[in-house]
Subunit: 577 residues, 2 copies
C-alpha cells in the first residue's frame, strides 16, 4: 500500500473517481466472519475498493449470482515436482483458481545452488501467479550422496532478504534441531535476523522433540498423520498445512482434528503435484472441495485456503475479499463445490472455464541449463563384480518409497560380473554423479521393476538429482545415460540400443518450459511405453519409483553415487552380504 | 528470537540444560485450539521451553491444579487517563494480569509533542509491563483550540521506526480519510513506508465511508456500538477491540455479534480507565470475565485478550503459552472467572494476590514537567462583558460529554459584566491557553454544575489540555488557575480564596509519578470535597465533566481558549445570542 493507491481507493469509494471494474450481483465469501453476503466488488489499480454497487466504474460485470471468493493460496509446494517451469506452472494452477504459492525450490537448489534460487526468482517475477519462495534449509538433504550444491548459512543470508523470499524452507533436519547442531542453528539465525519465517517438516516428531522444534519458532508443518499430531502442533503455535498432493495426502486423515476453534490455524498445500493430477483433479481447489465434501463448513475451508495462509506467511495484501486488498478472486457457481469459472488476478480476468487466457512469458534459463557435469562415464562403469551368487537387492514395495533390503540368488558370468537372467526380475540400477564431474558411479541391484529388456533413466532423483538408471543390460543403460547427458536431463527409455522416447527436462534436469498440456501428453505416452513395451507392472509408477531409489534417508536399502546404502544401519554396505 | 536463546530452549527440552523454573500440575489454556490441557511449563531465559514435567529445573513451583494462561494484552489504551506515569500504571495493571499494552499517548503528545513521545518511550522502557506505543495521528485533534503541539507527517516519520512504536494511532479524523486530505494521507504514508500498522476510531462510519476507511488499511476499531457494526468492520478485515473502560463500555453490547467463526478477529481494550475502576473492577481481566459471564466460551475470551491482540499487532513473541514464546503468564484458580492469583513476566513472579511485589522504577520526567506557559493571566482576564441579560450557556447533561446549547437569563453588574446569582445554577467557565504563552483566555457560562461557592480547575481538558476553570467568582477562579500554574498542573479546588486541595499532576499536567493507591485516595478525597463542601450534584463527575467542556468536536456548545464554540454550526459564536 502507498499513499497514491490509498487515495485512489478512497476516491473510488467516495464517488470522486471511476473504478476500473465493478462486479455486481455476487455472493461474496467473507472469510473473516465465515459467511456469505450479497454485494458488489469494485476494483481500481488492481485492488478492491468497495462493496457498494453504486460506485462509478468504467466496466461492469454481472456475476449473475455466483460466489466471489479470494484467490487460493498453496501454503507449501515444490514447483519442480510438476516438471514445469514457473511460467508453465503458473498457467496450469492459475486456471484452477490458485493465485499465490509459497514454493520451496529445494529440488533445483540441490542441483544448481544459488543459481537455482536466482533463476526461480527471475522466472517467477511478474507472472500472473504470485510466487513466494522459501530458501531451502536442507541442501544437501544428506551427506550420503553428492548433490550439486551445499547451501550453508552464508548462502541463506545472501538471499533471505529478498522481498519474495519469505523465510527458511521446510526444516527437514529435525534431528539437527534436537541436537542444536551449529550449522543448522546458523541457518535459523539468518531467519531470525531478517525477521522472516521458518517452515517445518516434522513427521512423527513429538513430545519434547516437538517442543524443541516449536521453541525455535518453526512455524508450520505439513507432515502430520493424525488429528492428534495436528492438535499438538497447533497447540505449540504452528500452522498445520493439510496436504493433498499427487502421492502424499492427509486432508481427510487430519480433518477430524479441525474444528471451529482451531480452523484458523490450518491451511492447504500440495507439496508435490504431477501435472496430470492437477489437470484431472485440481490443485488447492481440489483440497478445499475434499474438505467441504467431508463436512468442513465451506467458508472455513475457503478461509484455510486463503486468509489463514496469508496470515501465516504475513501477506497482508491478500487472502480475503476486502477493501484495500489485491483483487485476486474467483467466480464459482457453487460454494459446496468450488469451480473456478473465472479467475481474476489484480482485477484482470486471466482464466475462464479452466483455461488460461494468455500463456505467461518464459525467461531463458541459461544458468540452469545443461546441468550435466558427468566425468569418465561409459558402459564399462556399469559392470558389477560379485564375490558370490548371493547379493543384496533393493526390493521395490509397490505404492511406497520405502524399500526392502533383500538378499537374492543372482547369475554371474565367468569373470564374476552380474548378468541379467530373463527368468529373474532382478535388474541392475546405477546412480551416476552429474554435478561436479567426480566420475562417481554407484551400481546395485533392484527387484520388482518388472522390465524384461531395456533401460530407463531419469535425472529426477531425490534429493541430489544425480542420474539414476535401471536396465537389463549395460549397453541400453549406457545409451540412456548418454541421452540424458546430451539433452540436459529428463527421463528416457531405451531398448535394443535405441532411444524409445525422451521426456526432456532441460532446466536443471528437473523442469521444462513446455506447457502443462504437452508435458501431460508426453508423460502419458511415456507411461504407455513403460507399461507396454517395457513391461513395467501397473502397480508401480515407472519413473517416480526410480526417483526415490537414491534417497538415503528413507529405509531400507538405496543406491547412491557413492555406492549401496543401508539406511537402517545408516552406512554404506557391500553388495555381497 | 536469536540463535543463543533458541539453542538454550532446545537444550532444556532435550535435557542437556536446566530450566530456570518448572511450573508443574497446571491446567494450561491453549488459545490456539481453545482448549485446556494438563501439563507443565518450563522457562529458561524468560521464555517457555517445554510442556513436559520431566525437564530438569533449578526451581519447581507446584501450581496445584490452577489454570495457567497467557498474560493479558490491552489492545488500546491511553495511559494518561489513569493519571499515572507509565511506571505507576505498570504496577497497577500488572497486578491485574495485564502484561502488555498498546498505548496511544495522544493526550500527553497534545501537550508536549515529540518530547512527550520520547518521555513515554523512555518512561516505559524496561518496565515489567511491556508498553508498545502508537504514534498519535491527530495532534491537534481540532483547529478550534490551541494544543501544545502540531504533529505532522515529518514528526510521524521521525518516530515510527522505533521498535516499540507499532504504527499510527487511532485515526479519529475519519472525515479527513473520506476526503483523502493530503496532510492525513501523508501520515498514513509514513506507516505504509515503515511497514507498520494503523489503528482506527470510526464511530458511526459505515457503507462507502467504511470501505474507504478500511481500504487504506486502517486495521482496528474500538468504537463500535452494535453487533452489526462489529460484523461490518470484521468483514472489511479490521480487528474489533471490545472496550471496557471507566466511562465507555461496549463489551456486552457487541458480544451478540461474536461467534466461533469470527472470534479470532476481536480483542479487548480499556481505552480510558481511572485508577479507581482498575482497582475496584479490574483491567482486561474485567472485560474477559464480563464476556465469559455473558456466555462467551472462556478459552475464546482469553484468546481475544491474548493471541488475537498479539496477532493483530504482530507481536510474534507472545499471546499464548507455547514453546519459544515469552513466559508472561497468570495462574488463576478458575477459568470461568479469571483471577490473577500470581502473575509472571519473563518467567519471574511479579505480582501475587493482586499486589505487585516490587514497584517499578520511575524516570525523571524533566522535559515534560512544568508544562505551564501561561502569559498575562490575572483575575481581570476572567471578566465577562455581556450586551444583554440573555446569554448562551453550556448545559451539562449528566452522564454525557455532549452538552446543550442553552440561552438563559443572567445577572449583570453596572458595567455590564456577568455576576454570579446564588439563585441560579449558572457559573462562569474559562479555558486558559497554557502551551505557548499566547495569553488566550476564553470565557463562557455553564449550567448544571451545581457548585454554590468556589472554583474548580483542571489541566486535564480534552484534547488540548489547556487549563479549564469553573467558578462562582473571579477571585477563586484566579487562585485556582494560579495554583495549577505553580504546581505544574493537576486538579484543584478553591473556596473563599483558599486552596482546599490540589491533586498534582506534575507530568505535563496530566500524570503523576505517585502510586496508584495514593492517587486513588487523593481522588476519593477530592470527590468528597467536591460533592460535600462545593455542592456538586452526585449525578455528575466534578472533574471528568469539566475535562470535556473544551472539546469542540463533541456537540453542542463548548468553551475553548479562543472563545465559545458552537459545535453544531462548527464555528465560534457570541455569548449573546
Amino acid at each position: 500500500m502507498d499513499k497514491k493507491l490509498a487515495t485512489r481507493l478512497i476516491d473510488v469509494c467516495e464517488g470522486r473517481a471511476e473504478a476500473d471494474l465493478l462486479v455486481t450481483n455476487c455472493k461474496i465469501v467473507d472469510v473473516f466472519n465465515k459467511t456469505v453476503f450479497e454485494g458488489a466488488v469494485s476494483v481500481v489499480d488492481g485492488h478492491i475498493a468497495s462493496f457498494s454497487p453504486e460506485v462509478k466504474a468504467k466496466r461492469t460485470l454481472d456475476a449473475k449470482g455466483r460466489y466471489l471468493l479470494p484467490g487460493l493460496i498453496d501454503a507449501h509446494c515444490h514447483i519442480e515436482s510438476s516438471h514445469l517451469s514457473p511460467a508453465a506452472y503458473s498457467d496450469l494452477v492459475v486456471a484452477k483458481g490458485t493465485t499465490t504459492v509459497i514454493a520451496d525450490p529445494h529440488e533445483i537448489c540441490n542441483v544448481a545452488g544459488l543459481d537455482a534460487m536466482r533463476y526461480m526468482l527471475l522466472a517467477s517475477e511478474g507472472l500472473p501467479l504470485s510466487v513466494y519462495l522459501m530458501f531451502p534449509s536442507c541442501v544437501p538433504a544428506t551427506d550420503s550422496e553428492h548433490a550439486g550444491a551445499v547451501l550453508l548459512a552464508d548462502s541463506v543470508a545472501a538471499m533471505i532478504g529478498h522481498e519474495r523470499v519469505l523465510g527458511l524452507g521446510e526444516m527437514m533436519n529435525y534431528p539437527g534441531i534436537a541436537a542444536a547442531l551449529p550449522f543448522v542453528m546458523d541457518k535459523l539465525e539468518c531467519a531470525y535476523q531478517a525477521g522472516k519465517l521458518i517452515d517445518g517438516h516434522a513427521p512423527d516428531v513429538k513430545d519434547r522433540d516437538l517442543d524443541a522444534y516449536a521453541a525455535c519458532r518453526i512455524r508450520t508443518d505439513h507432515e502430520c498423520s493424525t488429528p492428534e499430531e495436528l492438535t499438538e502442533r497447533i497447540r505449540r503455535g504452528m500452522y498445520v498445512a493439510l496436504r493433498q498432493g499427487t502421492a502424499c495426502r492427509n486432508v481427510l486423515d487430519l480433518l477430524p482434528g479441525v474444528n471451529a476453534d482451531n480452523a484458523s490455524r490450518v491451511m492447504f498445500c500440495t507439496d508435490d503435484c504431477q501435472p496430470q493430477s492437477i489437470m484431472e483433479n485440481g490443485h488447492i481447489d481440489y483440497a478445499v472441495n475434499l474438505a467441504i465434501g467431508a463436512g468442513m463448513k465451506p467458508e472455513r475451508a475457503i478461509a484455510a485456503a486463503t486468509l489463514n495462509a496469508a496470515t501465516c506467511y504475513r501477506l497482508a495484501d491478500r487472502g480475503a475479499i476486502a477493501p484495500g486488498l489485491r483483487a485476486d478472486f474467483i467466480l464459482s457457481p457453487s460454494i459446496e463445490h468450488i469451480v473456478a469459472d473465472e479467475v481474476f488476478i489484480s482485477g484482470n480476468l486471466v482464466a475462464q472455464g479452466g483455461r488460461i487466457l494468455k500463456p505467461a512469458a518464459h525467461i531463458r534459463p541459461e544458468k540452469v541449463s545443461g546441468m550435466m557435469d558427468v566425468a569418465s562415464f561409459d558402459e564399462s562403469r556399469l559392470a558389477l563384480p560379485l564375490k558370490s551368487d548371493r547379493a543384496r537387492v533393493i526390493g521395490i514395495i509397490p505404492g511406497s518409497v520405502v524399500t526392502e533390503n533383500l538378499v537374492e540368488e543372482v547369475r554371474r558370468d565367468a569373470d564374476g560380473l552380474f548378468v541379467h537372467d530373463d527368468g529373474l526380475d532382478i535388474l541392475k540400477i546405477a546412480s551416476i554423479e552429474r554435478h561436479h564431474g567426480t566420475g562417481n558411479v554407484g551400481v546395485g541391484l533392484i527387484k520388482g521393476y518388472g522390465m524384461k529388456r531395456g533401460a530407463v533413466a531419469t535425472s529426477i532423483s531425490h534429493d541430489s538429482h544425480n542420474i539414476i538408471v535401471v536396465g537389463s543390460d549395460d549397453k541400453d543403460m549406457a545409451v540412456a545415460v548418454k541421452e540424458l547427458i546430451a539433452t540436459g536431463g529428463g527421463i528416457t527409455m531405451v531398448q535394443d540400443g535405441k532411444v524409445l522416447m525422451t521426456h526432456t527436462l532441460e532446466i536443471a534436469g528437473l523442469m521444462t518450459d513446455r506447457d502443462a498440456h504437452t508435458v501431460y501428453e508426453e508423460l502419458a505416452k511415456m507411461h504407455e511405453i513403460a507399461y507396454g513395451q517395457l513391461g513395467v507392472p501397473k502397480d508401480i509408477d515407472p519413473f517416480m519409483t526410480l526417483s526415490f531409489m537414491a534417497l538415503p534417508v528413507i529405509p531400507a536399502l538405496k543406491i547412491t553415487d557413492s555406492g549401496l546404502f543401508d539406511v537402517t544401519a545408516f552406512s554404506f554396505t557391500d553388495i555381497n552380504p
